[in-house]
Symmetry: D3
Subunit: 281 residues, 6 copies
């Protein structure tokens, strides 16, 4: 997952347009045009740094002469109450950029931090944490970039770059075997065949029909353990469905290869970040 | 707050581009082009309906011949496990649109639902719930639309349409009085003057200098009660800072006129919505 | 009012696309690719310099290696027949950029110059000159930037950032008092309440209902003087309606606080600017 | 000159974005969502109707269900104080669209009306009125559409679709003959060769070198008469330079074939148009 | 491969902008605005119809009231000198749309027709014809749509939706085994592993390392036959490299599963299509 | 014909979006982020270099720190198997940019090379090779840039910048004389009048009515010779219609002034270019 400079610039421009628009009326009224200042973006609580390029781009878009210094590396985790970035230059520009930069960091660090907690929770099990398509509309690339920084593996980007046969497809095809056969006949052959199954019988049918990957949605830990025993060496097994920080380790310990977690992007708490202007000495 | 058709269409097109892209490879392989189907979007838990126009626009953008029927009104609150929308037509189109429609509804209903809980929590106190600029970049209008559906009052859209003197401005101006004076001299006069104050002395200075609105950030309930007593009839008083569902009623009961809550948009849990294809009878 | 580099670049790119398009066929036929030249943009008549950044951006967009030197400061007023800018480099690029740069300067200097004349006309009266929404579609920010350079105060940017109750609203609400009451109940409270009134009785009703700002449209000087006497210390009073250079001083001397003038943007004569290529010595 | 629906839609969307933005706060506060109304756009002074399609598009973009009825034909001239358009439907939509529709009509009708006066002034002389590239950046097509509605002939759209050798080109080439020769050798041959000349000698040289069209810039009426006598049957002769309503007829009577007038677009007074909401009976 | 209405509209708008621009000066001068006409788009030589939706969109974009009737189905092959489409309505609109519609059809029918010849050439061999990424920049989706209409199978859309290890990757990794191992460890696991190999030894190493698909680039028919014998039941085998209509059948008969052909898109001759206006009876 | 940096950047961004999208999954899996490399773009067969700026822009868009060195000049023709460009820097970036850069060069060099062959074929005849509007939709400027690099003269850019009366116009006007008369009366007078004629009688009528340019479509060499004799000194004569490398010299030797060739853009074979990564020494 990459954030191209072009993509970042576009999303930053849109964000500044909606927040700053025709100008920051308060700052322009109070702060002289020539005033210089220095500020730090502070992580108030422990977090995983994510989106430093985006924050940079926000400051640069408001005023290319602002100097931004990174105090953490992208992906680095540290305790709270530490400065993350230092920015200096036009005080008007710093204040105009503040909220937009913080809003980006809050979500990106938030997702990376939340993901990292899941990754730590499964440590040592061999199970891989993966994200889903439950991202915010317009934020697919940014959201998945943040899960990657957090340590998750990327699932498909969208409907176009992976085959995943779900319940509705099986329903439409008249059964697992027919659905898998249709996919093998018609889908781009460079994509593996993933199938969502609800029972061992379905799993058997899916594998017999050529599936290489089983998505086990909303199965209990016991069911998962049983499915791993039967199919774990014949296909990639991926658990999913309402996985939480509380439940993830037990799931991972069943032996499934992967666990996909919508909450990484749809329920990550925003990171607590703030900008403090330093008092001129 | 309005969602213009044009704005909705643009955000929907971007969302479909990132999820569907060059086509839904699975559905196109499994579901025949002529297959028709019917599906319901279900609210799995109690929620406030929000974004029905957006969901409509998603289905229409994928296939204008899909028929969408709304079973709830926008802003209506109901219990869970009830169908929210019914959609019929090309099965391929329904499945291609599914995740994008759900991702929009999850956030919009989520914010509206979360906001409504705050509004209920302050019921009878006379205090008004308002949102903030802590929205997702690119989602300012959508996020604020959802808080409005939830029952909150809109705060400023951005830096351009309201005056709000905050700590950094006061610092830069060399004091509350100087900052307020600068605003009265230089800011667009059709905007009221709001000032963030940290003490009764500051409040006094701000009002003396012409402020009409005091933002009381991170004050205790006792402090708020005291400030209301002294200034409640001389200015609009607005509390803010880390307000939660647990704390909001006590704050509202201090007599402040408004309470602004960043969590409405930065921490609303996604609503639990799903799409079920009906089995053809 | 600010012109962001991004906004300027977009409008400049559009302007060059419509004038230069696939290339300047005459210049490319006559002037060798390697020819260098120097030119001055001349103010043929007295004017207020406005839009120097935009002119810069035009030359830079055609050829980033052109050197542009400013001979006046933005907002500076000087007599005619003086050079405003000096530009040197590729002669082809200078000639291709010429008309577009001049067309921008003609309007922007034209508005700033015309506005400055109104500002001078009211000098000493304490009355402030303000602009209106009668700007050219697509040029709102540029037009208002130019009135600001000329010395006017910005009125609202659009319908979204100020409350102004006009005759049609009063009609719809069934009277001034009802209209003002509706605004106080429903409009964003960080915006002051402005009301257009046609009589002293209406003014009285508006103030009683909570209006803070009265727009006095198309009132005679005598009426204005009378209204100032009665309401001048209870609200901001703003005169408007067909104000000209001839009439503005008398209006200002009535004691109104502001006079808003559509002509600043809808009727400013274009400034007389030209580009002269210097003869190589 | 044509206004394509696509081009009109784009310029209208941009104009509404800058005026209405996130919503008309006053109207939404005062006028109920269900209120219906009827309004007329009135020409307060005599004018030539121009831009009725654009006005239509503005109302349709705000609310596709508004009904717009045209009372004049495009290009029709009538006396003042007559209704031009009638629009009915959602009162909120009518009021939100009002200023944008009027701003378009003011410029388009303004240019068409001003142009028509020049066309009438030369009536019977056989001389044709033509426009120039002194249009507003971003408005080239709209401005030239309006001069065409007024009765002028279109000059080149931009630097790409006509050859016009001007003083700077002649300077660069080292003389008229060399410049014309360069054009004949290098420019697209489907374009005629126009040359700006300052004397009879230059005109002679230009024609000898193959020019077919002479632009006579800032010549006196006597000079023009003389040039017509010498060259009028050997080339198209076009007068230009500071032409006004006062001077145009004398210029036209010299026998020049065309007169090009920058003022048509850079100095046309805005037309006086207003929108009146009809009192419900 | 799907052509969404939105994508088609965008590409059509761009194409009309570059061909029609500010208007068809010839047609507007010669053909009266009210003239009606009927025309047929004729296939002068045998072809496979492709892009009828695009042609429709061109006519509709110029004038939504044009009636277009399709005389062939999309993908249908017929002999030459037959009408493909009939279009009726405004004669000006038909003539303005002509070249743009024909330019689209020439390429799309051209690719579909050329592809169909390859598909016929391998008929009965069981070998599948696939396209490549050698498409025209900006035309990826359109080009691949046309190969699909011709009967080819789509290869990856781009670098993002398939894994294909080529010589440069092997070079960078220090050998086939290392490259395949890197891919299995780091690439999205829902994508199969394709590897380009140059020898049986490399093929062996690739399969041992976990490759599932071998791209055999520029191998002779004898080599291919040999590779099929050794690896045909252990992996998908795909031949590529300078495949022509002359050579394709021999390649297909070696037993390779697929043959990928860059010429489908980089060298398909344009189809010979023309528009004839019918003489009014 | 010019390629502005802005136009190149837009087309390059679109091309990279469709090929690289969210990232090159293979390269990112195999090649370490820090790996450096050097590569050459090789012309495998003789060609005319065209589009070096575009290729530069592709590499720069993927990674601005790549160093690109040009080994040929734009427009230079050389034998095959020679390096055209050398590029060094991040190996990931080189590989991600490879196909897009090659796809641009294949078409642009292909058209320039094919055009140059036609230009050589008519050498010494005095006849000029010109291109047509049979370009790829979206590629008008790029395609015409390439024919210019090849040595052709540009025909009109589109329907807006030249008058060309064709059979359908003549049909609509009721004859050649009427069509030419309409054009002289109504079309922009800075454009010459070109007419397509099918016989000497039509040619005579066209010239009598004021045409200055005759397009002789699909005439035999004998007919052309005869038409040259009769009309060659009264108008520009341009032959067209199915011109090939085999037929072009005979056509040119008839004495026509120009020959326009659709095949330059609709049938130019793609140039054979490849990128080879150099083995690190």
């Amino acid at each position: 997952m990459e954030l191209t400079a072009d993509a970042v610039d576009r999303v930053v421009a849109a964000a500044l347009a909606e927040d700053v628009g025709a100008g920051d009326v308060t700052t322009n009224a109070v702060v002289p045009a020539h005033a210089r200042g220095e500020a730090v973006v502070v992580a108030r609580k422990a977090l995983v740094a994510c989106g430093l390029d985006v924050a940079d781009a926000v400051f640069a878009a408001v005023d290319p002469s602002l100097r931004v210094e990174r105090l953490w590396a992208e992906g680095e985790a540290r305790e709270g109450d530490l400065p993350l970035l230092r920015v200096g230059g036009s005080l008007r520009a710093i204040l105009a950029a503040e909220r937009t930069a913080l809003n980006f960091l809050a979500r990106l660090c938030g997702i990376a931090t939340f993901t990292r907690r899941f990754v730590h929770a499964v440590e040592g099990t061999g199970c891989v944490v993966v994200d889903t398509r439950k991202t915010l509309p317009g934020w697919r690339v940014l959201d998945k970039y943040a899960t990657a920084v957090g340590g998750a593996q990327a699932h498909r980007m969208g409907l176009f770059d992976a085959v995943l046969v779900k319940d509705n497809h099986i329903e439409a095809a008249g059964g697992v075997a027919a659905a898998v056969a249709a996919v093998r006949a018609n889908a781009p052959p460079h994509l593996r065949v993933q199938v969502e199954v609800e029972s061992a019988a379905d799993a058997e049918a899916a594998l017999a029909a050529g599936a290489e990957w089983l998505l086990l949605d909303n199965r209990s830990v016991d069911e998962l353990r049983d499915l791993v025993k039967r199919f774990g060496d014949r296909a990639v097994l991926e658990a999913s469905g309402g996985v939480t920080l509380e439940s993830v380790r037990a799931i991972a310990r069943t032996g499934v290869h992967r666990v996909s977690i919508g909450a990484l992007t749809h329920s990550a708490p925003g990171a607590d970040v703030a900008l403090d202007v330093a008092r001129p000495a």
